[in-house]
């Protein structure tokens, strides 16, 4: 939030790239190392079924973290994403039980996500209200609005064809995992190689320089939020189609989980640095930790403390590594 760390690294793109590559490497090593360590204690952890369940059950968090990472890289933040996912999941489910064609129920949350987040982006970029204020307000509005409209009535009797998350591609790759990987690769490629993608880094890293290069800062911010809405829509779809019941409420603390995945993934909250590959790896790591703590017979009372400790350790390690890289 303040201008203090890693300013010097911005000057040299090659060094940034190196730093990022190793943050992702660090996370990948952590993901594999943890799996092996827990596997030694309890080999059942390494069963293919368990590993794929960890991915399957948490893919929606990774997908939402992609959009969140873009938002953070552009120098903003979004607290409303958890509430939005709750609203979009309910929207999709409500349409499905009303007998709307399935393709429409799948597209509706994406469109609604783009619209709601895009609107927030407009308020943030053109009316210049800080993102934390707008999204904090929107969190209240979405949460209260959802309960006002639905009364919290659960959606049951969903048609079988609605369950997108149950599909398998080529007979073996579950849809949530496919979407997570595809979205990550596409987003990473787009942010790295396309002009609008690189503009996100420019706006977050040094808005003044970005302006001088002819990049429209407000337009970029709106674009980022709209994209974030799209990813939130995909996440909501995975969230809604995995189970036979939709709760019509806001998933508790989901926004914190998503933001945590982004920052653990090495996305600097100062804007301008990070990749979505890191955030996806981090989402996987966090989910893996949650599962691993059950497998190592940790007292359930202490699970959250250990989770917090591991997150803290990862974050500190990331910052220390970055400082060493930049010689600060």
């Amino acid at each position: 939030m303040s201008v203090m760390t890693v300013p010097s690294s911005r000057a040299d793109p090659r060094r940034i790239f190196k730093a990022l590559a190793s943050q992702e490497a660090l996370l990948a090593i952590a993901v594999i190392g943890l799996a092996i360590a827990v596997g030694l204690y309890n080999p059942r952890f390494l069963a293919a079924r368990n590993l794929s369940d960890v991915l399957l059950g948490n893919a929606y968090i990774a997908v939402a973290a992609i959009g969140m990472s873009m938002v953070i890289i552009s120098g903003n933040i979004d607290i409303s994403v958890g509430a939005l996912i709750g609203v979009l999941a309910t929207l999709s489910g409500t349409l499905a039980v009303k007998g709307v064609p399935i393709i429409v129920t799948w597209l509706a949350p994406l469109v609604a996500g783009i619209l709601i987040m895009g609107l927030q982006g407009v308020v943030i970029a053109y009316l210049r209200i800080p993102a934390i204020v707008v999204t904090l307000g929107m969190l209240s509005i979405l949460k209260g609005g959802l309960i006002s409209v639905t009364g919290g009535k659960w959606i049951t009797d969903l048609p079988d064809s609605f369950h997108l998350a149950d599909l398998e591609l080529l007979g073996s790759v579950p849809m949530p995992v496919f979407l997570m990987i595809a979205a990550t690769i596409l987003a990473a490629w787009w942010m790295h190689d396309s002009a609008p993608g690189r503009a996100i880094y420019a706006v977050g890293g040094n808005a003044e320089a970005a302006r001088l290069c002819g990049i429209s800062q407000p337009r970029t911010v709106v674009m980022v939020f709209a994209l974030h809405g799209l990813f939130a829509g995909v996440a909501a779809l995975l969230y809604a189609t995995q189970l036979r019941v939709i709760q019509s409420t806001v998933p508790p603390n989901l926004e914190l989980t998503v933001i945590t995945a982004s920052v653990v993934g090495g996305v600097s909250i100062l804007g301008g640095v990070g990749t979505v590959i890191g955030s996806t790896l981090a989402a996987i790591l966090i989910a893996e930790i949650a599962s691993a703590l059950v497998f190592i017979d940790l007292s359930p009372y202490w699970i959250r403390a250990v989770q917090g400790m591991l997150i803290l350790a990862t974050v500190i390690a990331d910052i220390l590594r970055r400082r060493r890289m930049t010689g600060a």
């Binding site: 939030m1 303040s2 201008v3 203090m4 760390t5 120098g75 903003n76 933040i77 607290i79 308020v123 009316l127 210049r128 209200i129 800080p130 993102a131 934390i132 204020v133 904090l136 307000g137 929107m138 969190l139 209240s140 509005i141 949460k143 209260g144 609005g145 309960i147 006002s148 706006v203 977050g204 890293g205 040094n206 808005a207 003044e208 302006r211 800062q217 914190l256 933001i259 945590t260 920052v263 909250i269 804007g271 301008g272 007292s299 009372y301 202490w302 699970i303 959250r304 403390a305 989770q307 917090g308 400790m309 997150i311 803290l312 974050v315 500190i316 910052i319 220390l320 400082r323 600060a328």
Partner: protein, 327 residues
């Protein structure tokens, strides 16, 4: 978050604009009070207003140091979890360590301060950005509260302890005295001391503040410690009011506190803000919730209104400011 170009004026402490924002907010508050008061004759009574003060004390105590922190361009998301940790340790040290209750209260304040100090230490020494550090300790401190308590509550405190949270002193709820004293001290500290000026200087331009020889790191360490300490105090007040401890106490406080502070005109980018604004922001949220409830608006609709007010009032304030700046 720091790099969105603001009109240059916002980077300086702009006294008249500040005054303007808060006066405007206070005016909106007054109008709301009158309207809600005319809709329900039980709203604008001294009893009700004092009672609302009682209910908002816990959030208010934390909002004061949070104002300091946000003025420096930082944030502390771990406050709600510190409340939970301190509440648990208050009960635990009293019941399981056999501490006399006053000592247990002191111990829980100390733990709060230590938790805040750890935040400050890592933020200043390791240079972990405040949002990241406190999002990690938000999970950690809540987890410690759960682990230490083993999901047990501690109840049955001596009668004198309930005075803090439930009784009146000189006609005013006891904990409201604590809040009033804290407001006065925080207000003076921010407006009239070098410490206060250092906070604004850090928020305006941290590097410049460092070069002008201001004790940037020490000041930050102090405000994060203070934030933890006040969260501890808030926990003591809360336990006294509800007569029991639970590890989930105070969850979600961070967003209530931040909403009050930013509604009060403190800029999330740092450098701008005041205690007076935070107090108005606090009053506005609490009284709106109460007034709407008394006029028959339900809880879910109330939070929609609060969210809208938060966005709109910031919008109005910033557009006024921009018109003045001629941007």
């Amino acid at each position: 978050m720091s790099e969105i170009p603001l009109p240059p004026i916002a980077r300086r402490a702009a006294p008249w604009w500040l005054l303007r924002h808060e006066t405007m907010l206070a005016a909106i508050l007054l109008v709301a009070l009158v309207v809600l008061g005319s809709l329900n004759d039980r709203f604008l009574t001294l009893d009700n207003l004092l009672n609302q003060g009682r209910l908002t004390t816990e959030v208010g105590l934390i909002a004061l140091p949070m104002t300091f922190i946000i003025i420096t361009g930082g944030i502390d998301l771990s406050v709600g979890s510190i409340v939970g940790l301190c509440a648990i340790l208050l009960g635990y040290s009293w019941k399981s360590f056999g501490f006399p209750l006053p000592l247990a209260i002191g111990f829980s304040l100390l733990v709060g301060a230590a938790a805040g100090f750890l935040n400050g230490l890592v933020i200043t020494r390791v240079k972990v950005p405040p949002l990241i550090m406190t999002i990690a300790t938000l999970a950690l401190y809540r987890g410690l509260a759960e682990g230490i308590s083993q999901a047990r509550s501690v109840r049955g405190y001596p009668q004198w302890f309930y005075v803090i949270g439930q009784e009146n002193l000189f006609g005013i709820p006891a904990q409201l005295w604590l809040l009033l004293i804290a407001i006065v001290i925080a207000g003076i500290a921010l407006d009239r001391t070098t410490f206060g000026r250092t906070l604004y200087a850090i928020g305006n331009n941290e590097i410049a503040a460092r070069f002008s020889g201001l004790p940037v790191d020490r000041t930050k360490l102090i405000i994060y410690t203070l934030s933890g300490l006040m969260a501890g105090l808030s926990a003591v007040v809360l336990v006294s009011r509800v007569t029991t401890t639970r590890s989930d106490m105070g969850s979600g406080y961070e967003l209530d506190v931040i909403a009050a502070v930013v509604l009060g005109g403190t800029s999330i980018f740092g450098g701008v803000g005041s205690i007076w604004g935070t107090v108005v922001g606090l009053a506005m949220i609490q009284l709106l919730k109460d007034g709407l409830a008394l006029t028959g608006v339900k809880g879910d609709a109330t939070i929609v209104v609060i969210g809208t007010v938060l966005i709109l009032s910031t919008l109005v304030a910033s557009s006024l400011q921009r018109r003045r700046d001629g941007v």
